[in-house]
């Protein structure tokens, strides 16, 4: 699967800005910067990883800048970024 650099989301409060690019090491690496990292950092990373797994996306580096987004928002932003990065439309 060819991965291009792609992003989705904004830096508004309540949103998450997700950038996806090709990984040099394979697998999925997640770099998270969150305003609620102390309380919800692990949970947010898990939602990102689960979403990518459901989409069968691997070999990516994810950089996420979170401003307190809810799980549904995180899933939507990660999905949109993944579709843009892979060119595979999952909504059809």
């Amino acid at each position: 699967m060819e991965i291009k650099n792609a992003s989705a989301g904004t830096l508004e409060s309540g949103d998450i800005f997700v950038q996806i690019g090709p990984s040099t090491t394979g697998g999925v690496t997640i770099d998270l910067d969150s305003t609620v990292a102390l309380q919800f950092g692990d949970q947010i990373k898990r939602v990102i990883a689960d979403t990518l797994q459901e989409l069968n996306v691997t070999g990516v580096e994810v950089k996420a800048t979170d401003k307190g987004a809810l799980d549904c928002t995180i899933r939507a932003r990660v999905t949109a970024a993944a579709v843009r990065a892979t060119g595979v439309d999952v909504w059809k």
Binding site: S13, G14, T35, V36, L38, Q39, F40, G41, D42, Q43, K67, G68, A69, L70, D71
Partner: protein, 512 residues
């Protein structure tokens, strides 16, 4: 016939009996110089350095400041910079509150100039550093009423107060506005500075508008002032309406404000002659707009509005809907102008505003207060000081004072702020005890303290959505999941005082 000469013996005998001297006319010296030509040596106007030396300030003493310029304050940084330059160490900084703009204090703390802080709140970089253990001694947090009380009783003794004022004459008569053409910085009420002016051993006024004597009507009297220092600027008035004050356009805040207004109108306390106060949150300020219509419709007038006075309150007052304004802090420029021109808009000192042990405190006469919150828990306890991430990011203000003294205290907060829940199992830090909180308004329903069943019934009758506070907490949790435990360390970085002078909670350091 009895002349004064004939009575000399009796005068002398009366004086002796009273242990007083007999009046000696030869000792009377009358000054006949035109007062405008009086020698300038008598003036209290000196440089900041001369004033500091003159007060006899020593290492280890307590200095105080007010926060009426909020985010625009220039006095704290200016004075502490000068004290550092003069080599002072181990000072206790007792401010009525601190803001983002006071981040330069971090360096002064590291250098040992400031080793103790007492305040109502703290924000920004200073608060973050303190939360991580910057200071050896914990910061003492008091409510505004609690601080006024502590100053009056001597619990908080102030050696030297440095008070920024918008105008002063050379004798020190000063206020938070200016009647001269040169007025630069106005803040309106000087309520939080008045206990300091009254009780501090020495008082230094800093002003950017030195006017001719007499600068009346004045808030601070020359009898309490030792020195007057003229500076370029004491504060940026345009930043008064910063920090916690927002005029909201947020639709959720407007929804909350409308709900809060319905609670007030149907509470049983919405009667002619009622009194009201609003806190500084967007929704609580906006609630005033929505009770206005109902006041007009039902012909109800308020006897007074208290506290942080806003443009909304001034408008209702000018429309005749609120008879009097009692103002400890002017929240915007409209309020600051109004206190200058309107005799029914009264300035009040912090201890006469909200001290528990001051019988004349205005809060004792308060019917309704609308307040905001960072967190409310299922016992109705409220936190307005420490964020859900364990970092200090707010101020106690008059929250616990008004909640305790009012007949009806209403907390307005959203269920969630982003991913942060506002209704929780237990507040991160206890600021306002649940025993003093009556109603919590959220966009998912209104919770009434079980101590007030009659109130819950009235609101239910009015068709409001009354819910169990536990249901609100569960609803928040179902959306956001379980938060991880905060990484608190073992160091106490803050102590929260109750308004009665007892210790209510401590804040531990965050390790990350």
């Amino acid at each position: 016939m009895s002349s004064i000469k004939d009575r000399a013996q009796l005068i002398s005998a009366a004086a002796q009996k009273m242990n007083k001297n007999v009046y000696d006319d030869a000792r009377t010296i009358k000054s006949i110089t035109h007062k405008s030509e009086m020698p300038k040596e008598a003036s209290k106007v000196v440089t900041l350095e001369e004033a500091i030396r003159g007060t006899g300030l020593k290492d280890g003493m307590t200095i105080s400041f007010h926060h009426h310029f909020r985010g625009g304050d220039k006095v704290v940084n200016m004075v502490v910079d000068k004290l550092a330059e003069m080599g002072y160490k181990n000072l206790h900084l007792a401010a009525s509150s601190l803001q983002d703009v006071h981040a330069p204090l971090i360096e002064h703390i590291k250098n040992g100039v400031i080793t103790e802080i007492s305040t109502s709140g703290m924000r920004g970089a200073l608060a973050t550093e303190v939360s991580h253990g910057l200071m050896e001694k914990p910061v003492i947090f008091r409510s505004h009423g609690g601080r006024g009380s502590a100053i009056a009783t001597g619990d908080l003794h102030i050696d030297v107060a440095f008070l920024g004022t918008s105008s002063s004459d050379p004798a020190g008569n000063s206020c938070g506005y200016s009647r001269s053409e040169n007025g630069k910085s106005i803040c309106g009420s000087l309520g939080y500075a008045l206990p300091d002016a009254q009780y501090a051993d020495k008082v230094v006024i800093l002003t950017d508008d030195l006017v001719a004597y007499p600068n009346t009507p004045n808030s601070i009297s020359e009898r309490n002032v030792d020195y007057v220092v003229v500076v370029d600027s004491v504060g940026d008035s345009s930043k008064i309406a910063s920090g916690a004050i927002r005029d909201t356009k947020n639709p959720r805040d407007i929804l909350l404000a409308k709900q809060a207004a319905k609670v007030i109108i149907n509470s049983g306390y919405f009667k002619d002659g009622f009194s009201i106060q609003t806190g500084s949150g967007g929704a609580s300020l906006a609630a005033v707009k929505y009770i206005r219509e109902s006041m007009i419709e039902k012909g109800i007038k308020a006897s007074f509005a208290l506290g942080g006075i806003t443009a909304h309150m001034v408008k209702l007052h000018e429309e005749g809907l609120i008879e009097r304004l009692i103002d400890v802090q002017s929240f915007d420029k409209v309020a600051a102008e109004s206190i200058k021109t309107d005799p029914m808009h009264k300035e009040v000192s912090a201890n006469e505003y909200a001290s528990a042990d001051e019988p004349g405190s205005a809060t004792h006469y308060l019917d309704i207060v609308i307040l905001s919150a960072l967190e409310v828990d299922t016992k109705f306890n409220v936190n307005v000081l420490v964020g859900s991430d364990g970092i200090i990011r707010g101020a106690i203000g008059g929250h616990p004072d008004t909640a305790a003294d009012s007949a009806l205290s209403i907390i307005v907060c959203p269920l969630l702020r982003g991913r942060i829940p506002c209704v929780v199992d237990e507040v991160t830090t206890l600021i306002t005890p649940g025993s003093t909180v009556d109603v919590v308004v959220t966009e998912y329903g209104i919770a009434v303290n079980p101590r007030r069943p009659e109130l819950a019934e009235r609101l239910r009758q009015a068709g409001l959505n009354i819910v169990d506070i536990n249901a609100l907490k569960d609803r928040a949790k179902s959306i956001i999941g379980d938060a991880a435990e905060l990484p608190f360390g073992d160091k106490v970085v803050g102590v929260v005082m109750n308004r009665d002078g007892s210790v209510m909670d401590v804040i531990k350091n965050i390790v990350d």
